[in-house]
């Protein structure tokens, strides 16, 4: 991913209603309590090793309605470790907000290739990775029982319920 590029493009479109959208969605309710202390960023393992990702800045931009924050690759750097949620003095569920911003980006048609692939793999195999047949035969060699074989028709139907194919096309 070209992270540098998208961060520059972050400061484009302003949508004053964007914050309401975040507040209304499951996981976004607490984001208005942020007072920019930076504790989340201080505890974030990703922020420690890259300058591009700062959870408090992302929350700030989202509050201002700078919509492009969700199209940036930066938000996808969050590894969902919940350290921030655990330590935020204001009770902001930071990790859930990051997740929600990613969801909103996907709704707008921005989805990273790897996520697309994950979703497709789940629908096609039931697992998030495609499984080489050598691994299955290895299980036999090691004396392990056959791996689970999820009913793919079930998964397809569940996908249809939330119109998942529209999101990953």
């Amino acid at each position: 991913m070209e992270i540098q590029r998208t961060v520059k493009e972050m400061y484009y479109r302003v949508d004053p209603k964007f914050k309401y959208k975040v507040l209304k969605a499951p996981g976004g309710e607490t984001f208005k309590f942020c007072y920019q202390c930076g504790t989340c960023t201080a505890t974030c393992p990703v922020a420690r090793f890259t300058d591009i990702f700062r959870p408090n800045k992302i929350i700030h931009l989202a509050k201002l309605g700078i919509r492009n924050v969700t199209y940036s690759d930066a938000v996808w750097l969050c590894v969902n470790c919940y350290s921030c949620t655990e330590r935020c003095p204001q009770g902001v569920k930071v990790a859930d907000v990051m997740r929600l911003l990613k969801n909103l980006a996907v709704e707008d048609g921005y989805i990273p290739e790897f996520s697309k692939e994950f979703m497709k793999n789940i629908l096609n195999t039931g697992f998030v990775y495609s499984i080489p047949s050598s691994r299955i035969s290895k299980r036999v060699t090691l004396g392990l029982p056959p791996p689970p074989q999820p009913k793919l028709a079930d998964l397809k139907k569940l996908g249809e319920m939330v119109k998942i194919s529209e999101l990953i096309e």
Binding site: M1, I3, P26, P45, V46, R48, F49, T50, D73, W76, L77, V79, N80, C81, Y82, S83, T85, E86, K93, A95, R99, L100, K102, N103, V106, I111, F114, S115, F118, M119, I122, G126, F127, V128, Y129, I131, K138, R139, L142, G143, L144, P145, P146, P147, P148, Q149, P150, K151, A153, D154, L155, K157, L158, G159, E160, M161, V162, I164, L167, I168
Partner: protein, 293 residues
Amino acid sequence: MVNMRYALYLGCLIPFREMNYEISTRRVAKDIGIEICDMGDANCCGLPIDSVNHEMMTLLAARNLCLAENMELDIMTLCNGCTGVLMKVNKKLKADRELRKKVNHQLSSIGMEFQGKIKVKHFAQILADIDVDILKKFIIKPLHSLTIAGYIGCHIFRPSEFMEVKNPENPSLLDDLIKLTGAKSVRYVDEYQCCGFVEGAIEPQIPLFLAREKLRNAKKAGADAMVTICPSCHQVLDSNQRRAERKFSEIYDLPILHYPQLLGLAMGISHEELGFNELRVKPAKLLEYLMEV
């Protein structure tokens, strides 16, 4: 023997990439008396696509929960990520009637219904809930001479709101389990910081940096080996260790064991039976050392 039965939920990584974790768990569980029933129809827990669509994640998790309900068994998980997702969705669906109604409507399309009959527990949590004195009876070869650095991971205790941890700044779960084997458990800097596994798909360098910190700090603290309870953490620390060594021109050579492998050794089970051969960082020195003492 403790006489328990669980539906084993394996997830995606363990059955194909971390088979040694599965082998050692099955072996150890058998001796302790935890009967394992396989969930032949289980799908991905949903976590990897939570960032794509929260609703789809909920449905995938709910389907797994329904499968276990049909088996009338509580779920045993081995992966922190799966534990977090299944536990959270299970609790949310039990508590939130509206959500449950909506999800059940969606599940009816595949002939399933969430009833809220079961619990989800990680193998480590199951062990921790068994009376220590009962577990101690299984320890016939205590590992007194070993110093172990536990790496607990994230989703098993964060967010503490859902994971019912008494002290989220200092969770003792893995610490206590290491002490059970007779080994010494050491503390080290960054022991509660994420392994960064998911970052591998976006910025593969970051997990290497994170691994480096932990490996260095654990070694500095005098650890002979590290112990994990999650396949993702294990991938970063074990499978990626050589890559980190090359990147930083450093040598760590620190074996990373799955907790049941450590427990198995203390229970007198041979290392071959515990899948030690499958580890990337070869624990040869560790095993030699154990033979000597």
